[in-house]
């Protein structure tokens, strides 16, 4: 018999508030953050919880994002469960510390309210900034809606703090579309959430045959984050990669545990295929765009068109083998990404998915679409246009010379 999910509370909140509730439910010890649109509501709401005594968190007010993540890193090294949130230029400013946090293996959880970086100046949503963090060694989860933002933030603590993993986790929610839009969100009751998330246990390491916790503790003095030059730097990078590999089954395991508790499941934790199996054309996308694309997919299916959607949820570790398996028999694939890269053949999603499919005996034709940049609305028409193009390629067998396209750009 399927276990009954826990009783939950339905609330009308936006994505930022959903993340703040998740941080509250995670019994965060330390939160250091600096407000920036469209993340501000997360820290505002969380500060309110702290001020009201609803959660016992040390809230550190800092003067910049670089300091915010630095404070989090220090707190985490002392053994605290640590949370922060930022966006756009804030993430860019903390970029240095983003690398440090993962290389020092501190499972900080950070919500990223995805907004385009300045240049040209803009405060609206796209995924350029978060995707630019792809080499920083964090686990990265993209959320489709506010419910998933709440769910993924709580899962993030369990994934990052898992003894095999010990890596920081970023959870992305699209600026404004999720951060500022009211949605019905199911929240766990405090006791159920606390039970799921537990307390942070420090990683144990062996020193001279003795087990000691990997945390700053005067009783067992250790140095965290020492200089590692040409003699040890590469070995530490290899270790980091191995930790990321060990995170692979953990993402799925926590996703399953969450499903048991709440009744909500996000595929295998990495990918959510929708009508992909027999599809002639598949769109792969991530974040809130997946919701719009699913709506269009359902409509076109009702008209008898064989289209499918593959939503990518976990971008790091990248599920390359799973993608290859799911898309092996699909003739045409379109990758829609809300980021922009110049001087390369397509953006990071396009590149990584295309590379994942390289070893297949017969590869699909793959097109890359840039769209929704700088907060431009991602509408159902985007995906109707893409599907139309993909199906035409399937029917005619003719693929375009340039596989990279822009959706709704004025020439």
């Amino acid at each position: 018999m399927k276990p009954m999910p826990a009783k939950q509370i339905l609330m009308g909140i936006n994505g930022d508030e959903a993340v703040a509730y998740a941080a509250k439910h995670a019994l965060v010890d330390v939160c250091a953050a600096y407000p920036i649109t469209p993340q501000t509501i997360i820290v505002e709401k969380f500060a309110e919880f702290v001020a009201n005594g609803e959660v016992e968190t040390e809230f550190v007010r800092v003067e910049s994002e670089h300091s915010a993540l630095s404070a989090c890193l220090g707190a985490s090294a002392a053994g605290a469960r640590t949370f922060t949130a930022s966006a756009a230029n804030g993430i860019e400013l903390m970029h240095e510390v983003i690398f440090l946090t993962s290389s020092i293996r501190q499972p900080v959880v950070m919500a990223v309210a995805d907004r385009s970086p300045s240049g040209p100046i803009n405060i609206h949503g796209d995924q350029t900034v978060s995707l630019a963090q792809r080499d920083t060694g964090w686990i990265m989860i993209y959320c489709e809606n506010s419910q998933e933002a709440y769910d993924s933030t709580l899962q993030a603590f369990r994934i990052g703090e898992h003894p095999d993993v010990q890596l920081p986790v970023m959870t992305m929610l699209d600026g404004f579309v999720l951060t500022h839009t009211l949605e019905n969100v199911y929240l766990l009751k405090d006791a159920d959430a606390h039970k799921f998330v537990g307390r942070r246990q420090p990683m144990m390491i062996t020193i001279d045959g003795k087990q000691v916790p990997l945390k700053l503790d005067p009783k067992t003095p250790i140095t965290i984050g020492p200089l590692q030059l040409f003699d040890y730097y590469m070995e530490s990078k290899l270790q980091h990669s191995e930790a990321m590999e060990k995170a692979r089954p953990v993402v799925t395991q926590i996703n399953n545990e969450w499903a048991q508790l709440t009744g909500r499941k996000y595929g295998d934790g990495y990918l959510q295929p929708f009508k992909v199996t027999d599809a002639d054309a598949v769109i792969l996308t991530t974040g809130s765009s997946a919701g719009t694309a699913r709506f269009v997919t359902r409509q076109l299916r009702a008209q008898g068109k064989k289209v499918g959607l593959l939503k990518l949820r976990t971008f790091r570790p990248f599920p390359d083998k799973k993608i290859a398996k799911l898309l092996a028999d699909v003739p045409v694939v379109g990758i829609f990404e809300r980021t922009h890269t110049t001087g390369s053949l397509g953006g990071p999603l396009f590149n990584e998915v295309r590379s994942a499919l390289y070893d297949l005996d017969t590869r699909p034709t793959i097109l890359g679409y840039y769209g929704g940049l700088g907060g431009r609305d991602v509408t159902p028409d985007h995906f109707r246009t893409i599907y139309k193009e993909l199906l035409k390629i399937k029917d005619t067998g003719k693929s375009p010379r340039n596989p990279i396209k822009y959706i709704t750009v004025r020439k």
Binding site: S103, I104, R105, Q166, M203, I205, T206, I207, D208, L214, P221, I222, T223, I224, G225, P226, Q228, D231, Y232, E235, S236, L238, Q239, E242, A243
Partner: protein
């Protein structure tokens, strides 16, 4: 390389080292060392205040440089009001 260094499986995660940072000697890349003229020194302790590395000690009578930590920056020599510290090549 003469000595075989441990691999990724043998080193602690995140490069953690077992010792407290107070046990590391960090003065080995100094190219100049401070040399103080004890006769001229007035014990004003300005150098002791200014040394950014707390490498100067004062026991109530004597001033000493701790060469395990002195980086040879020359701030003490610059600040000494009677110019009794010389920076000499290592």
């Amino acid at each position: 390389m003469t000595q075989k260094l441990p691999g990724s499986k043998d080193i602690p995660p995140a490069g953690v080292t077992w010792k407290s940072a107070t046990e590391y000697k960090t003065g080995d890349w100094r190219s100049k060392r401070p040399v103080r003229d004890d006769e001229k020194c007035t014990r004003c302790l300005i150098c002791w205040i200014f040394c950014p590395d707390a490498a100067i000690s004062w026991d109530g009578k004597n001033i000493q440089f701790d060469m395990n930590y002195c980086k040879g920056c020359g701030i003490c020599a610059e600040e000494c009001p009677v110019k009794c510290i010389d920076m000499e090549d290592e």
